[in-house]
């Protein structure tokens, strides 16, 4: 197997009792990928992300990151290898401020977080970097408000900030824009799209605007299995995808935009 893939699964599956939430998934993420994962509610998308990040142990199959088999690694080990994620349901540090949350994420990345003999305040670079990141996500004026008091949409942004703070090689985003107003979600995705080209991104999203605008490849998951994969235009016009997922949603225009953007 060549090691060019950023992430690759083989026959990946998990069952909860008799229920196969994810089954036999072969998913490949190329370096620099901007790939969307779509599918009906309960198709197993979040579960798949949980398998990739190590929250669940698969009952079948394997996961490779680059040329390393990571199937047996724990969440935090995978994260340290450069696999970052956001959560569909906000999972933040409610009692910290956004600034400290990001500082924490950065110091974990830098291996600073086991340092007990130096005051946090002295870690000025970390604070600078955190600040810059918050500015990028327009959270800077809320930097010192406790996370628990942030409006939902702002919390979604912080989710992403925490994932980005890890400077990941692979970024898995679970409905990152849910709850963010449309104009901001567009900007948010622009931030994501502008990330260094060598970061591979896989995102779940139900907003077809975003999916068709920002993905170069789409995988469709239905009932735990990959139904089809392909470029946005192919997926947008695939009748099977329309039937189970898209309905009458109009996507052609976006497909056109996407083509224009990445052609």
């Amino acid at each position: 197997m060549s090691a060019v893939h950023a992430l690759q699964t083989r026959g990946l599956g998990i069952s909860f009792g008799a229920f196969h939430a994810v089954a036999d998934v072969d998913l490949t993420l190329e370096p620099g990928a901007r790939q969307a994962l779509i599918g009906p509610n309960g198709a197993g998308k979040t579960t798949l992300i949980n398998l990739l990040t190590g929250v669940y142990r698969p009952t079948a199959g394997s996961i490779r990151m680059g040329d390393q088999d990571i199937t047996a690694l724990s969440c935090d080990q995978r994260a340290r290898l450069g696999l970052a994620r956001t959560f569909q349901i906000n999972t933040l540090f409610p009692s910290l401020t956004p600034l400290l949350s990001v500082v924490l994420a950065i110091s974990e990345r830098e291996g600073l977080a086991a340092t007990w003999w130096r005051p946090l305040k002295r870690c000025t670079q970390v604070f600078d970097e955190a600040h810059a990141l918050l500015v990028r996500l327009r959270l800077d004026d809320l930097a010192n408000v406790p996370v628990a008091q942030l409006a939902y949409g702002k919390q979604r942004l912080l989710e992403i900030a925490l994932a980005l703070a890890a400077r990941p090689r692979i970024l898995l985003l679970d409905e990152p824009a849910a709850g963010v107003p449309e104009d901001e979600s567009g900007e948010l995705f622009e931030v994501i799209a502008d990330l260094p080209k060598d970061i591979s991104i896989l995102f779940i999203e139900h907003d077809m605007n975003l999916v068709f605008r920002f993905s170069r490849r789409i995988s469709v998951l239905v009932a735990g299995r990959i139904l089809t994969e392909g470029a946005p235009a192919e997926i947008g016009s695939d009748p099977r995808v329309r039937e189970v997922y898209l309905g009458n949603t109009h996507v052609a225009a976006h497909a056109a935009i996407a083509r224009a953007a990445y052609a």
Partner: protein
């Protein structure tokens, strides 16, 4: 039917809603629009009695319900879908629905017909559901209380496009056929405006625009100014 009169409310000492007013007649629906953090959720939480109201009054039917505890409001006909879904994790899907059931046209069977996916997952516990399934369950749960006014906080979030269309249609239909009123908080103005009769736009806890939904939907310039929505992104 619902009269929200000059209400000032917030959390602890923080004021979020500032002398906010609106009203809804029976069978009508209202879209509440606004950017992040303007107080949309707080508005619904205030309707449910979960915030501190410092002045103003909320009237429902003939009653002043400003100080009522939440469960009495539900009995009086408010049905609530919280923003973060908040299904009960230690109850199964079926228990989640049954535990709040009140007499009326909605029962388990009908909710399951409305969301067939829930019937399939009926034995799963609340925390063993996908995000979208939880959203369905939260809506189904509100319906089980057989409300006269449905309070929906971003009900479409996390639902597949095909379901979004279907749900929007269903809610509109419920308004027309069963006289169910609704307040819809939404991030997607186009969708919300399509579903509702009236609309208000909030900014920092006060109403900055109120009017018929259709008018607002047609006035792209106004929409853009209030909510910053670019025309080329409108789906459909």
């Amino acid at each position: 039917m619902l009269d929200f009169d000059q209400v000032t409310a917030g959390y602890g000492n923080a004021v979020v809603l500032d002398r906010l007013s609106f009203s809804i007649a029976q069978g009508r629906s209202l879209a509440v629009l606004g950017r992040n953090g303007v107080g949309k959720t707080t508005l619904l939480e205030t309707l449910m009695g979960n915030t501190r109201v410092t002045s103003g009054a909320i009237r429902w039917g003939g009653d002043d319900i400003t100080r009522w505890p939440a469960h009495l409001r539900v009995r009086a006909g408010l049905g609530w879908v919280p923003q973060e879904r908040e299904v009960f994790p230690s109850l199964t899907v079926e228990e989640n629905l049954a535990v709040v059931a009140r007499p009326g046209p909605w029962n388990l069977g009908r909710v399951y017909d409305f969301f067939p996916r829930l019937r399939e997952r009926r034995a799963n516990y609340g925390n063993q559901l996908s995000g979208g399934e939880q959203q369905m369950l939260a809506i189904g749960r509100a319906l089980m209380t057989n409300p006269a006014l449905l309070l929906l906080d971003e009900p479409m979030e996390g639902l597949a496009p095909i379901l979004v269309e279907e749900l929007a249609r269903s809610i509109r239909r419920l308004c027309e056929s069963e006289g169910l009123a609704s307040v819809v908080v939404e991030q997607h103005p186009v969708l919300a405006l399509e579903m509702t009769h009236q609309a208000i736009v909030l900014e920092r806890g006060t109403v900055v625009h109120a009017g018929p939904s259709a008018e607002l939907a047609a006035d792209v310039a106004l929409l853009d100014r209030l909510l910053g929505v670019g025309i080329e992104e409108i789906p459909g």
